[in-house]
Structures are given as C-alpha cells and as structure tokens.
Amino acid sequence: MGMIFYVIAGLTLAGGLAAVLLKNTVHCALALTVAFAGLALQFLELDAQFAGFAQILVYIGAVAILVVFAILLTRGSETPKDGVFSRTWLAGMAIAAAVFAVLGWAVLGSTQALPVPGGAPTAAPTATVMQIGNALMGRYVLPLEIVALLLTAALIGAVIVAMHEKAGTE
C-alpha cells in the first residue's frame, strides 16, 4: 500500500468517471475497460493473483468486447441530440449511493476479521490458485454447479430468443 495504490486508484476512478461523462458511447466503453483494468491491477497489487487475472480474462476479454459489440449492433456510437444525461439521473444517483453504502458497510464490517494495524505484523494470508481451485471443487462444488446450470440456462434462453426472432421474420 502506498504510491502504487494511489496511482492505480486514480487510474480506476478516472476510467470510471470518463465512462460516465464522455459523449461518444464507444469511448465510454473503452474508458470502462480502463476502469476494469485498474481494478485488476488493484487485485494484483494486493497479491490476489487469481482474482486479478480472472478480472482481466472475464471483464476485459469478454464483458468489454460484449459491451462494444452490443453498442455497434444496436444504436451506433453517435451522440444523442438531447445530451448524454438521462432525465432520471437523480434516481440513478440514489441507487448508486445505496449500493455504495451497502458495499462500504460490508467492507467496514469485515475489518474486524483482519489483524489490528498496530499489532504484531502477521504473515500475509497466501491464497494460491491451487487452494482456490481445491475449495471450488471441494467444499463449494454445489454453488459452483448451480451457477454453471444457471449460466447454461441463460445461454440456451438467449439462443431460443434469437432463433424465435429469426423464425418470425421468415
């Protein structure tokens, strides 16, 4: 924690802000990618290799590409005439604040599990990828399989929706 943390945090925040404030939708998506990358770097800086790489693989490799594709295939990247600010920005802000409050509350509540900063420096908990894999395949295998089933169902649902539209136009 130190200089590097603040640099990465600044990068992440700048990316997030740019994603909200930029006019061109594709620029927004690319800025969002910067924010994702910043988060991944933050994970890596905290020695959480698996979380960091999974963040890059899933969010930059898949989600960002998906967002960009969705923009291209639907509306195009032209700026709407009535500006980029939605009329319901107040409600959006309230929801964002509520989510942030819940997350902040959860994070602050979890500090009790960590050693006291003033106390003796304990060895950092080293969660290797192997331990995470063993936990996922052993103790947490049921939640993992349920998530897999859910994702498969979503995939099949998406395919059915797409096929239905195609059959209707013929």
Partner: protein, 391 residues
C-alpha cells in the same frame, strides 16, 4: 563447459548486473531481461518474415525477395527502413486518439505474454504461480486492440474485418483454453515452469512430453488449430482477407503503425508457438536423453522456429475458410472434441499405469474423431458440384 553454455545468458546477465552498485541490481536485472526479450523476438520476427517470403515463393514456384543483399537476406532491413520513413496517414474522419492507441496497445500486450514463458533452464522472467492464467488473460486483451483499430478507422472494410476478427478470436479462445486445461489437470499446476519440469523426464532415453500421450496429441492438434485461428493466420485469415476486405482492420494504417500491426501479429505467433511448445512439446527439454548436453535455450528456440515453419507451410497449402465454415468448425467440431479430451484426460489420470489406458484413451478419441468427422461431412452433402450459371 556444456553446463556453462546452457546457462550462458544467465551468467552473462549476472556478470553485467554485478558491475553495477548493489542498490541498482534488482532493477537492472529486470530491465536487462526485458531489453533482451524486446530485442530477440523482433529479430526472430525479421528472420521469420524473410523465411516466409522465401518459403512461400518456393512453394508458389517463384523466387521471392532476391535483390537486397546476397539471396535477399537483407530484405527485412530494407522493409524496416521503408516503414519507418513512410508517411503516416490518418484518415480525416478517423478517431485520432483511438486510431493511435490501437497498434501501441497491441504491441504492448503481445510482449507482456513473454514474461512468463520459460525460454531455457532458469530463463523465465517472472516465476508466477498462475502463469498460464496470466498468459490467457493477456491474450484475451488483444481483441480489444483489433476492435479499436477497426472502429476508429471509420471505414467499412476495417469495421467488417474487426467484427470478423473479434468473433473468430472469441470463438477459438474457448478451445484454446480447454485444450490447455488438460495439461493443467495432469501437471496439477498453472505454473509453466512446473509444466516443463513435469515433461523433462526420460524413460528409455525418450522424453515424457505430453504430445506423446493420446490426450496430449489430441490436445496439441486442437491447440494448434485454435492458435492458428487466434493469430488470424491462414487458413483462418478471414479478418484480413485481402480479396474481400482490402486488409481488414488495419486497412487505414500506414507507415510505422502498419509495421506495428505486422510486428504484433508475428510476435504473437512466436509467443503462442512458445506457449504450445511449453505445454505440449516439453518446453526447453531435449528430445532425447543423450542430447541433454545441448543448451536448453537452443531446444526452445528451435521448437518455436519449427512451429513457425509449420505456420508458413500451412499458409502455402490451405485455402481460406468461409465465415460459416469457420464458426461451425469451432463450435460443432473442435469444442466438443476438447470437452471429450478433458474427460479422457481425467480417465488417463485415474487409470492405473499400463497398456490398457493407452488403448482405451486412444480408442475413445479416435472413435469420436471419426464419428464426428463422418457425420459432419455427411450433413454437408459433398459430392459432384453443379453451378447453376456455369453449366
């Protein structure tokens, strides 16, 4: 003497770093390694381009470059000077910032992958616990650069090329990852150093490379197919199919930015060849136990260059696929086979050591290959072709 030759680069680095004050040494060591990677692989890129132009020329019954230097071996130098001095044209309607960032991003990301490749005994830049995961997460980011290039050019050919490239890269990334997972299952580690160490054993003087097992061979073939598609090489070079899309996503690039795309593509090919070598071909280990005295880095680089020759050979041999054939091949043939290969790998792991597991695992894979290939061909109705307007 041979041990020293094997470690010559490591010793050289230690010698150079030892000349500096102690406080600089850790940083200097890393900078030296990075500089070596940034010098060696573009040099290999130049050699590969020359080899490709000469080799393709030979295959197509023509000379290839033969004017610059003896036998045209200085052609890469001339190409480099030309691309450096050419005018850099940015289209008027292009998105200048994204247009500039795309090639830079590609080159940076492609070079990052080398950080974890073991190029010889004790020659890995970063010893990472999750090296393979790092490599794939970095590889997934190249798609973004391709999209940035295609979108920012404001050219329909560029955009079409980028869409094709991204769709293709996403489709083939799944089999690429799945075929590598088999190796991780057997080794029990994501660390590339450990994967090489597991293959660096010998029985009767023959190596324990993963390609010499049924699942390893199937995995390697599918890895090679997916890697070829991932690097947009022929026969999967639809994104830059020059007869359809001018040059695909880098149509609007010229001068040094074009050279950067070119460099990114070839360095990416070298890098993924290095990964395939590490995963299936034993990395830097020698092909026979009696050849163990030859330096380890020699084996790594010769395996990589051999893979590049196969790439060139494929390009000279196979015609380009169509977009629907490309997608069908990825999702209906390669992906089910990789999933089956994962199953076979698990069987291989749990069956006792003996000839039975060789027979059973090979039989399952061979049967699946034949049945799926036959049924796929049957559905396509191949036969004498009739062209409505040509008869």
């Amino acid at each position: 003497m041979f041990a020293n030759l094997d470690q010559i680069f490591v010793l050289l680095k230690q010698f150079v770093v030892g000349l500096l004050p102690a406080s600089w040494q850790p940083v200097a060591g890393v900078v030296l390694c990075v500089a070596a990677i940034i010098c060696v692989f573009p040099a290999l890129f130049a050699i590969t381009v020359l080899l490709e132009r000469k080799g393709l020329g030979r295959m197509q019954n023509r000379y290839g470059p033969n004017r610059v230097g003896p036998y045209g071996i200085l052609q890469p130098v001339a190409d480099g000077i030309k691309s450096l001095t050419k005018e850099d044209i940015v289209p008027l309607s292009a998105d200048a910032v994204v247009h500039f960032l795309a090639p830079v991003f590609l080159v940076v990301v492609v070079f990052l992958g080398y950080a974890v490749l073991p190029m010889g005994r004790n020659m890995t830049l970063v010893h990472m616990d999750a090296a393979l995961l790092f490599y794939f997460s970095i590889g997934a980011s190249t798609e973004l650069s391709v999209f940035m290039a295609g979108w920012s050019s404001r050219n329909k050919y560029s955009l079409l090329g980028a869409m094709r490239a991204v769709a293709q890269m996403i489709s083939y990334e799944v089999p690429l990852l799945m075929s590598s997972v088999a190796v991780v299952m057997i080794t029990g580690s994501l660390s590339l150093d450990k994967i090489v160490a597991a293959q660096n054993q010998y029985t009767w003087g023959l190596p324990h490379w993963y390609i010499f097992t049924p699942w390893g061979f199937a995995g390697f073939v599918m890895f090679a197919i997916a890697a070829t598609a991932e690097t947009n090489r022929s026969p999967f070079d639809l994104p830059e199919g020059e007869s359809e899309l001018v040059a695909g996503y880098f149509t609007e690039y010229s001068g040094f930015k074009f050279a950067e795309f070119f460099l990114g593509e070839y360095v990416g090919m070298l890098s993924i060849s290095g990964l395939g070598t590490t995963l299936f071909l034993g990395g830097w280990s020698s092909p026979l136990a009696v050849l163990g005295w030859v330096p380890s880095w020699f084996w790594f680089f010769s395996k990589v260059m051999l893979s590049m020759c196969v790439y060139i050979w494929l390009r000279g041999t196979l015609p380009r696929l169509r977009q629907d054939q490309l997608m069908n091949f990825a999702w209906k043939f390669v992906l089910p086979l990789t999933l089956l290969n994962l199953f076979v790998t698990a069987m291989w792991h749990f069956m006792s050591d003996g000839w039975e597991r060789w027979v059973i695992c090979s039989a399952i894979l061979l049967l699946a290959y034949v049945v799926m290939g036959r049924s796929g061909m049957h559905r396509e109705h191949f036969g004498p072709r009739r062209y409505r307007y040509a008869d």
